[in-house]
Symmetry: C2
């Protein structure tokens, strides 16, 4: 009997009910670009991030005077200062502030996992940090890819595969689901050249049309920060070891 904790991959939020019972910690992943943006915000000194599901909630927070980011289909929603470009979150004006954010897929995935015991934010830019956080925990991990409108997406799966691979390599974790095995295979064939591997991916094409190539390069560059955003109540904070 193998009692090691599991690390599994769920490809999209609408498959979450099939996987959730086996998870102690859920890692929400939206590489292009919500979780990369959230990690960037914490790396630049943001104090709290409040992910919300709807533009209506975002508007309410805006009316209360919060800094609010809203993105739908790759673009900043009219009337908001920020979307989910990580480059929006590098300025000094965010330091110590609370940021409210709603995005097409990432904040939806966060909402999907609302009943999970623990929720962590993962991306390629904090890959090793989030992996090390999970390795120390030694609990059952579910890597939840945000996908694109509930469809499978390649970059989130590759990021999930990268985290799974690091956990498996310690010898302290195991994967039993085929989705996890596939994610690791995809990561292993992608890892030498993420940009090239993803050149035909639907999301990259979508963002390229919007002139977001710099964002894509940034989001596909691993280990730019050691922040680990974790859920605390209804908001996120940076985990302090």
């Amino acid at each position: 009997m193998d009692n090691r904790p599991t690390v599994e991959v769920c490809f999209t939020p609408n498959l979450y009910p099939l996987h959730m019972d086996d998870a102690d910690v859920v890692v929400v992943i939206d590489v292009l670009r919500a979780t990369s943006a959230i990690c960037t915000a914490f790396a630049n000194g943001v104090d709290k991030v409040i992910p919300v599901s709807t533009v209506e909630e975002a508007i309410e927070y805006k009316q209360k005077g919060y800094l609010v980011a809203a993105e739908r289909k790759g673009q900043v929603v009219d009337g908001f200062q920020f979307g989910n470009s990580p480059y929006s979150y590098m300025g000094k004006e965010l330091k110590g502030k609370t940021l409210v954010i709603t995005t097409t897929n990432g904040t939806k995935a966060f909402h999907t996992a609302r009943k999970a015991k623990e929720v962590v934010i993962g991306s390629l830019i904090n890959l090793d940090a989030v992996s090390n956080f999970l390795i120390k925990k030694k609990k059952n991990v579910l890597l939840l890819a945000s996908g694109w409108q509930n469809k499978f997406c390649l970059e989130d799966t590759i990021c999930a595969g990268a985290i799974a691979e690091q956990l498996i390599n310690t010898g302290d974790f195991r994967s039993v689901q085929d989705s996890s095995i596939a994610a690791k295979y995809l990561y292993l064939s992608a890892k030498e050249n993420y940009l090239g591997y993803l050149k035909s991916s639907s999301h990259r094409r979508r963002l390229k049309k919007l002139n977001l190539n710099e964002d894509i390069k940034y989001c596909l560059t691993p280990n730019q920060t050691d922040v680990v955003p974790i859920r605390k109540g209804n908001y996120l904070v940076n985990y302090k070891a």
Copy 2:
């Protein structure tokens, strides 16, 4: 504007609603073992196959005197002569007969696609035959992996990737979804050694426990037959070109 027909991959029946509107022809794939068994039955002279979703329906057909196969969780259901081992379908007694079949995942996927304009049965054992059939049609193709209880499974995805690759290589088809791109990547890394590639897959482990290694080897050996089972009313027949 690229007007070529699309070939896309849907990983599990419960994601089908996200993909179905773009499909003219749906290919149902359950490599281990329902669609391999159905192809084997036609290759051995079965006249018609009636896939049913429930054991209750299977019992009704049995009471009417039909040959009936029923499998759940890898094993023959009590009271039935056949499960979904392809080796059950190689005898002369099936020639010219109608076979009724219900299985854990494959017949469920068939039912999921019931509103599709056309439905075809795909497996590795009729890989080239089904690919050539689709290439001649030049219509939008959706490759529907049956999965395992609605979860992603590796062998169906690899089979879907193999068919997609053949269609794309003609230059007459295109894929736009990330699921299709991932399926092709997985197929390309698996194709030299299906058995080895799938050694850690959940379904192979499941069947191995049931001493079904011979079945697995058979189902993972491409191009053993040129049958192309197609839907006609509520049953399947072998397509005659």
